[in-house]
C-alpha cells in the first residue's frame, strides 16, 4: 500500500495547467473580454452611427493621448443626474426587501420540508423545483393575469367577500416584489433545506435536555447551523434581484425604478450605449461588494 500512493499526474503526465487553465480561459473569453468591451464603450462618446458610439481607443499606440482623451462623461452623467442614483438605491431596496421576504417564507418552508418524514422529502423537493420546468417569462405573464385589475386574485377575494374594490396591485412596486419573491424563492429554499436536512436531530434533543426552551433551541442551535444555507440563499436571491429587468418591466409601473430597466431604456430606447455601459459597470461593482462579502463568510464558515 505504501508504494501505491500515487499523486495525481504521476505516470500519466496530466497537464495540470490545462485543468486549472480551462476555467480561466473560459472566464477570460466570456467574461473579461466582454467586460473590457463594455468598459471601452462606457468610456466613449455617443454618436449617430452604427454602432452608435465613437471609440477613443483604436489601438495600443498613443496610450498617453488616449488616457488624456478618455471620456468620463458617461460616468459624470451617472453622478450628476439623480435618476441613476435613485434607480440604484431603489433596486437595492427592492432586492433587499425581496430577499428578506423570501427568507421569511423560505425558512419555515425549508424547516418543515426537512422535518417531514424522509420518504416524502424527494417529492417535496421536486415540488419546489417544479416551477423551473415552465418558462420564467410565462410564469411572470401568469402573475400579470393574477394581479391585473379584475384578475384572478381580485375575483377570488371579491368572491370570498374580503374586498369590494379591486386591489390595483398590477403595475406597482408590490407587484414587482411579489414577482421577484415568487421567482427566486426556490433559490432561497434549496440551500436552507440542505443545511437543515443535515442538522443532527440529536443536537436539538441535547439542547432540550440541557434546559433550552423550543425558542432557545431555534435561536442557538437551528439558526447558527443553518447559517451557511441562509447566506447562500440570500445571495442567490439578492444578486439576480438587484439587476432584474423582466419582472419590473412586466409587473412594475411607471414609478418602479430599477437599474436593470434604466439600463435597458438607455441601451435600446435612448441608444446611449456609453451611458448604458457605465450603468452596467457600476452595477457590477456594486454587486462585487456583496459577492466578496459572501466569499468571506463562506470561507469563515468552512470547517
Amino acid at each position: 500500500m505504501e508504494t501505491g500512493t500515487s499523486l495525481p499526474g504521476r505516470g500519466w503526465p496530466a497537464p495540470r495547467w490545462l485543468v486549472v487553465g480551462l476555467p480561466y480561459a473560459w472566464l477570460l473569453a466570456f467574461f473579461l473580454l466582454p467586460f473590457l468591451i463594455v468598459l471601452r464603450i462606457a468610456l466613449s462618446d455617443t454618436a449617430r452611427a452604427l454602432p452608435p458610439y465613437a471609440p477613443h481607443w483604436t489601438g495600443w499606440a498613443e496610450v498617453w493621448g488616449f488616457l488624456q482623451a478618455l471620456d468620463l462623461e458617461s460616468f459624470a452623467t451617472l453622478i450628476a443626474d439623480t435618476l441613476y442614483l435613485d434607480a440604484y438605491l431603489s433596486s437595492l431596496r427592492l432586492a433587499a426587501t425581496a430577499t428578506l421576504v423570501a427568507l421569511l417564507i423560505a425558512f419555515p418552508l425549508a424547516y418543515s420540508m426537512a422535518s417531514a418524514p424522509r420518504r416524502w422529502q424527494p417529492a417535496l423537493l421536486i415540488l419546489v423545483i417544479l416551477p423551473f420546468w415552465t418558462s420564467f417569462l410565462i410564469r411572470v405573464y401568469a402573475w400579470m393575469a393574477i394581479l391585473r385589475p379584475e384578475g384572478v386574485l381580485d375575483a377570488l377575494l371579491r368572491g370570498l367577500g374580503i374586498i369590494d374594490e379591486p386591489l390595483g396591485l398590477m403595475n406597482t412596486e408590490t407587484a414587482v416584489l411579489i414577482g421577484m419573491v415568487y421567482s427566486y424563492l426556490p433559490f432561497m429554499v434549496l440551500p436552507i433545506y440542505t443545511s437543515l436536512e443535515r442538522l443532527d436531530r440529536s443536537l436539538l434533543e441535547a439542547a432540550a435536555d440541557l434546559g433550552a426552551t423550543p425558542f432557545r433551541r431555534f435561536i442557538s442551535i437551528v439558526i447558527p447551523l443553518a447559517r451557511p444555507g441562509i447566506y447562500a440563499g440570500c445571495f442567490l436571491v439578492f444578486i439576480p434581484a438587484i439587476g432584474e429587468f423582466v419582472i419590473p418591466d412586466l409587473l412594475g409601473g411607471p414609478e418602479t425604478l430599477m437599474i436593470g430597466k434604466v439600463l435597458w431604456t438607455e441601451f435600446f430606447s435612448n441608444r446611449d450605449w456609453p451611458l448604458a455601459s457605465a450603468v452596467a459597470i457600476l452595477l457590477l461593482l456594486i454587486l462585487a461588494v456583496p459577492l466578496f462579502a459572501y466569499q468571506h463568510f463562506a470561507r469563515k464558515e468552512a470547517p
Binding site: L203, E205, A206, A208, D209, L210, A212, T213, R216
Partner: protein, 383 residues
C-alpha cells in the same frame, strides 16, 4: 486506594433489599408502542438514590426507549414515571431534572468546549462568573483543563466523550442518563473510562441509568442490571445474581456463556435434585418446589465451572467423558471444546484459566478426557 474503598462501599450498597428504602425513579406499568409494536410493555422498575443501574439487552429490546421516556423524548402510552415521587407526565424534556449523555455525544459543533458545557447553565439565570466557575469545575472533573477554547472537531473521541459527560453533569441532574456511553471508544480507552465513570459516580453519589448492549460493560460498572427482552425485564439484579442465578434461559444465554444439558427429574430430596441426563446422572441444588418426577428440564453450566481431567474423577455424578475437539488460546484463559461421547455427542465449552506462563498444557487435541463439576454449579433453567 480509592478504588479499594470503593469496592467496600459497593458491597454494602443494596437499598433495593431494604423494604423501607424510597426509590428515586419509578417506572410503573409503562407501555410504549411504535406502530403496533410494543417497544416497552407493562414494565415496572425502581431505581434507588445513588444507584448505578444498567439496562442491558440486544438492540430493539426497548432499553433506549425506556431511557428516552425518562428524559422526556418519548411519552408512555400508558403507565407512569415518577421521579422523587413526582409524576413526570406532561413535563417537557427541558424542565426535567435529568440530563443525558448521548450515544453520538451530540456536542454542538458551532460552540467551543466551554460554550458546550455552559449551554445548560445559561438556560437558567446564573451569573456569568458562576457559570465560568462551574464550567472550570466540570473541566477539572473530567480532566480537560486547557481545552475550553477547542471546538468539538478538534477533539479526539475520548475527549468528546468527556465533554459530553461534563456537559450533562454541569446542571447537577438528579439522574444522569448514559446512552451507550463507551460505545464509540476503542477497547483500551473503554476500560479506562469505565473505571473513571464508576469513580465519578461514587464520588458524586448520583443516580446513573445506563443503556448498553455490552454485558461486560454492564457487569463491570453497574450496581444492578436489568436484562431486557422484547420490551420487558427478564431479570433485575446485581451482576453476580444475573450471572450465577439467571432467572431463565434468555438471561443465562445473553449474559456470559453456557452449556445446556437436558435431563429427566429422577428424585427431589429437599433442595437436591437428581436428573437422569443423556450423558449420565446430574445432581444440582435448587429450591424449586414446582418440579415433578419425570419432568424434562434444562441445566446450564458455565464454562469456567467445569474441570477437565485425564483420570476419572472420584465423584459419582456430574461427570462425562469426551474427546478434545478444539482448543482456543485467548491469553487470559483457554477455551476448550469437548465433544461428548455417544451418538450426536454435544459440544461442551470449558474455560481453563492460564495461571502459569510456562506450564505445558495438560491436554491436546483428540485426548480422551473427563469433564466434571460441583453440585452447586448447575443452574436449573426455566422458560
Amino acid at each position: 486506594m480509592a478504588r479499594k474503598s470503593l469496592g467496600n462501599i459497593r458491597r454494602s450498597f443494596a437499598p433495593w433489599a431494604d423494604p423501607a428504602a424510597i426509590p428515586q425513579v419509578r417506572f410503573e406499568s409503562v407501555t410504549k408502542r411504535f406502530d403496533d409494536i410494543a417497544a416497552v410493555s407493562d414494565l415496572t422498575l425502581s431505581l434507588y438514590p445513588g444507584e448505578f443501574h444498567a439496562l442491558l439487552g440486544p438492540s430493539g429490546c426497548g432499553k433506549t426507549t425506556l431511557m428516552r421516556m425518562l428524559a422526556g423524548f418519548e411519552t408512555p402510552d400508558s403507565g407512569r414515571i415518577l421521579l422523587d415521587g413526582q409524576d413526570l407526565a406532561g413535563i417537557p424534556p427541558h424542565l426535567r431534572p435529568t440530563n443525558m449523555m448521548f450515544q453520538s455525544y451530540a456536542l454542538f459543533p458551532h460552540m467551543s468546549v466551554f460554550d458546550n458545557i455552559a449551554f445548560g447553565l445559561r438556560q437558567g439565570n446564573l451569573k456569568r462568573e458562576a457559570i465560568a466557575a462551574r464550567v472550570a469545575e466540570m473541566l477539572a472533573l473530567v480532566k480537560l483543563e486547557g481545552f475550553a477554547g477547542r471546538r468539538p472537531d478538534q477533539l479526539s473521541g475520548g475527549q468528546k466523550q468527556r465533554v459530553a459527560l461534563a456537559r450533562a453533569l454541569a446542571r447537577q441532574p438528579k439522574v444522569l442518563l448514559l446512552d451507550e456511553p463507551l460505545g464509540a471508544l476503542d477497547k483500551k480507552l473503554r476500560e479506562e473510562t469505565q473505571y473513571e465513570l464508576m469513580d465519578l459516580q461514587a464520588e458524586l453519589g448520583l443516580t446513573f441509568l445506563m443503556v448498553t448492549h455490552d454485558q461486560d460493560e454492564a457487569m463491570a460498572m453497574a450496581d444492578r442490571i436489568s436484562v431486557m427482552e422484547r420490551g420487558r425485564i427478564a431479570q433485575v439484579g446485581a451482576p453476580e445474581e444475573i450471572y450465577e442465578m439467571p432467572a431463565n434461559r434468555y438471561v443465562a444465554e445473553f449474559v456470559g456463556d453456557i452449556n445446556v444439558f437436558e435431563g429427566v427429574v429422577d428424585e427431589v430430596k429437599g433442595e437436591i435434585i437428581s436428573l437422569d441426563g443423556r450423558h449420565g446422572p446430574i445432581i444440582l441444588d435448587d429450591p424449586d418446589p414446582s418440579l415433578a418426577i419425570g419432568q424434562t428440564v434444562s441445566v446450564a453450566i458455565r464454562p469456567e465451572k467445569i474441570s477437565i481431567t485425564l483420570e476419572e474423577p472420584a465423584q459419582p455424578t456430574n461427570k462425562m467423558t469426551g474427546e478434545i475437539w478444539d482448543i482456543g488460546y485467548l491469553g487470559d484463559f483457554t477455551m476448550v471444546q469437548v465433544k461428548l461421547d455417544g451418538e450426536a455427542g454435544q459440544l461442551v465449552r470449558v474455560a481453563l484459566p492460564n495461571r502459569s506462563r510456562r506450564a505445558e498444557r495438560p491436554i491436546a487435541w483428540e485426548d480422551r478426557v473427563w469433564l466434571s463439576w460441583d453440585v452447586e454449579a448447575g443452574i436449573l433453567l426455566r422458560g
